[in-house]
C-alpha cells in the first residue's frame, strides 16, 4: 500500500494497515517530516513578518502620547481577541479564485497560511511590545539625553532595555501561530504534502481515530513550542551590551 510514488502517504495508508506499520518507522517518514517542516516554515515566516511590522508599531505605541495612540491600543486589544476562524474565512473569501485577490492563486498554499498567521500574531506582538516599552521608566529617555544620546539613540536604548518583553512578544507570536488550527485549516485546506501542518494533521488523525498518531504529532508540537521558548530565554541571557 502507499503507491510507488511513495513520497508522503505513509500516515494515511496507516488506515488500511493499522497493525503492520510501526509508529517508530513512520515518525521518520517523509510525510511526517514534511508536516513538521511546513509547520516550522509557516510559523517562523509569520513570526518574522509580524515581528518586523509589530515591533516598530508596538514601540511607537509604547512611546506615543497623542490621542491616536489610544485608538490603536484599542484596535490591538480587539485584535488579540480576533477569532482565528473569522480571519480564515475573510482570507478565504479574499484569496478565493472568485474573490478580489483570486488571480494571485494563494488559496490553499502555505502563503495564505502565512498571511493568516501574521495577521493573528500581529496584535500580540504589538500589544506585548508596547507593554514592554511602557515598563521602561518614563524618565529614562531624558536621562539618556543627559548622557549625550540623541532622541533617536535614546529611543533605541529604550527598545533594547525592553528586550525581555520583545522576546516574550516573539515567543507568544510563535506559540500562537504554531498552535493555531482554525485559520490554517480554512485557507490551507489541510492538503497532504502541501498545506498539512501539525495542528491540522492532529485534527485529522483524531477524527480518524488514530490517537497514537495524534499524540505523536502533539508531542512534536509541544516539543517545538518548548524548544522555541528555550531558544528565546537563552538569547536573552546571552545578550549584553547593545545600543
Amino acid at each position: 500500500m502507499g503507491g510507488p510514488a511513495g513520497k508522503c502517504y505513509n500516515i494515511s495508508s496507516h488506515v488500511l494497515t493499522p497493525h503492520s506499520s510501526p509508529l517508530r518507522t513512520a515518525v521518520f517518514s517523509a510525510e511526517f517530516l514534511s508536516i513538521v517542516l511546513l509547520s516550522l516554515k509557516v510559523s517562523a515566516t509569520a513570526v518574522l513578518l509580524s515581528s518586523a511590522l509589530g515591533i516598530p508599531m508596538g514601540t511607537w505605541l509604547g512611546l506615543a502620547r497623542h490621542p491616536a495612540a489610544s485608538l490603536v491600543r484599542w484596535c490591538t486589544q480587539v485584535g488579540m481577541a480576533l477569532p482565528p476562524v473569522v480571519v480564515g474565512l475573510a482570507l478565504y473569501l479574499l484569496f478565493s479564485r472568485s474573490g478580489p485577490l483570486g488571480d494571485w492563486g494563494w488559496l490553499f498554499t502555505p502563503r495564505a497560511m502565512i498571511v493568516a498567521q501574521t495577521i493573528l500574531a500581529l496584535p500580540f506582538v504589538v500589544g506585548i511590545t508596547a507593554g514592554a516599552i511602557r515598563s521602561v521608566p518614563d524618565q529614562l529617555p531624558e536621562q539618556l539625553r543627559g548622557l549625550g544620546a540623541s532622541a533617536r539613540q535614546a529611543r533605541r536604548t529604550v527598545v533594547f532595555e525592553a528586550r525581555h518583553g520583545l522576546g516574550l512578544a516573539v515567543a507568544a507570536a510563535f506559540g500562537r501561530s504554531l498552535s493555531e488550527v482554525g485559520a490554517v485549516l480554512i485557507v490551507g485546506g489541510n492538503i497532504a504534502g502541501h498545506t498539512r501542518v501539525l495542528t491540522t494533521a492532529i485534527v485529522l488523525e483524531t477524527s480518524q481515530g488514530r490517537f497514537e498518531w495524534a499524540l505523536a504529532l502533539g508531542g512534536v508540537l509541544l516539543g517545538l513550542a518548548g524548544l522555541a521558548n528555550a531558544c528565546i530565554v537563552l538569547f536573552q541571557r546571552g545578550q549584553h551590551g547593545g545600543p
Binding site: E142, L144, L147, G148, A149, T157
Partner: protein, 250 residues
C-alpha cells in the same frame, strides 16, 4: 549668540548666560530667574531648599526641558567648535540604571561617541576605580543599592568627559564617606580638565566646601549670585543673610 566681553579680568568668561528665564507646568511657575551666569572652568553651586527650582534650572541648562520664556545664551564658545554648544552631561537626582552590567552603564555614553574600544575600556576602568565601583563592574546595575547607583551615575557622566557636568543633589542619599568621595572626585576633575560643574544642593556646608561660585534660589527666583567667598562672607541680600544664619525664610 551673545558674546560677552567681561570687564572683570579675574573672572572666567561666562559659558552660559541666563536672562529672564521662566518655566511653568501649566499655571504653576516653577522657575523665574532674572539673571544667572555659569562661568567656564568653575564649580557653581545652586543652593536652595527643596522646591526652589534647582532641578528645573538644571534641566533647562541640559536642554532636556524647554523654557516657557527667556533664553540661555551660550557665552564664549570655544573657537574650535562650530555650533558653540558645549557638551553636557547630567546626573539626575534619582538616576535610572540600564539593565546591564555596571561597566556597560559606564561605557554607554562612550559608545555613543563611537570611541575606540581600547579607549572605552581604559576610561571605564578608570572611572569605576575613581568611584570605588571596580569590584562591582560585572554586577547588574539594576541590582545596585541606592548609594552605589548614585556613584555609578556620576561615573558614567564623568567618563564622557563633558565640558559641563550638571549634578542634581548628587550626595543627597549618600553616607558621609561617599559624600567626601564624590566631592573630591568632582573637584579634582574641575581642576584637572578645566571643566564646568553646576551642582545643586540644599546643604549650606557642602556649598561652602566645594563651590567656586554660589547662587541662591528661593521660590523659583535667583536671589543672589556671587563667588563663594563674597557669597558667604559678605552677602548683599537680606534673604541670603537670613538663609546663611539658618533662619526659616521659605
Amino acid at each position: 549668540m551673545a558674546r560677552e566681553s567681561t570687564g572683570n579680568s579675574h573672572a572666567s568668561p561666562p559659558l552660559w548666560r541666563v536672562e529672564r528665564l521662566a518655566y511653568a507646568y501649566g499655571k504653576t511657575v516653577a522657575l523665574d530667574v532674572e539673571r544667572l551666569s555659569v562661568r567656564r572652568g568653575r564649580l557653581l553651586c545652586l543652593l536652595g531648599p527643596t522646591g526652589a527650582g534647582k532641578s528645573t534650572l538644571l534641566r533647562l541648562l541640559a536642554g532636556t526641558a524647554v523654557p516657557s520664556r527667556g533664553r540661555i545664551d551660550v557665552g564664549s564658545a570655544r573657537p574650535e567648535k562650530a555650533n558653540g554648544a558645549p557638551s553636557v552631561a547630567m546626573v539626575y537626582q534619582q538616576p535610572l540604571p540600564l539593565r546591564r552590567s555596571v561597566a556597560e552603564n559606564v561605557a554607554y555614553g562612550l559608545k555613543l561617541k563611537r570611541l575606540p574600544r581600547r579607549e572605552i575600556e581604559t576610561r571605564v576602568e578608570h572611572w569605576l576605580q575613581q568611584l570605588r565601583l571596580a569590584e562591582l563592574a560585572s554586577r547588574r546595575a539594576d541590582r545596585l543599592s541606592g548609594g552605589q547607583l548614585t556613584l555609578l551615575a556620576i561615573a558614567r557622566a564623568l567618563a564622557i568627559e563633558p565640558e559641563v557636568l550638571l549634578l542634581d543633589e548628587p550626595t543627597a542619599n549618600l553616607d558621609p564617606g561617599r559624600v567626601e568621595l564624590v566631592e573630591q572626585v568632582v573637584r579634582a576633575e574641575v581642576n584637572r580638565r578645566d571643566c564646568t560643574v553646576v551642582w545643586t544642593t540644599h546643604n549650606l556646608f557642602q556649598a561652602r566646601r566645594i563651590a567656586d561660585d554660589v547662587a541662591l534660589l528661593l521660590g523659583g527666583a535667583c536671589i543672589e549670585q556671587a563667588d563663594g567667598r563674597t557669597f558667604f562672607d559678605s552677602p548683599a541680600d537680606e534673604r541670603t543673610k537670613a538663609f546663611l544664619n539658618g533662619d526659616l525664610i521659605y
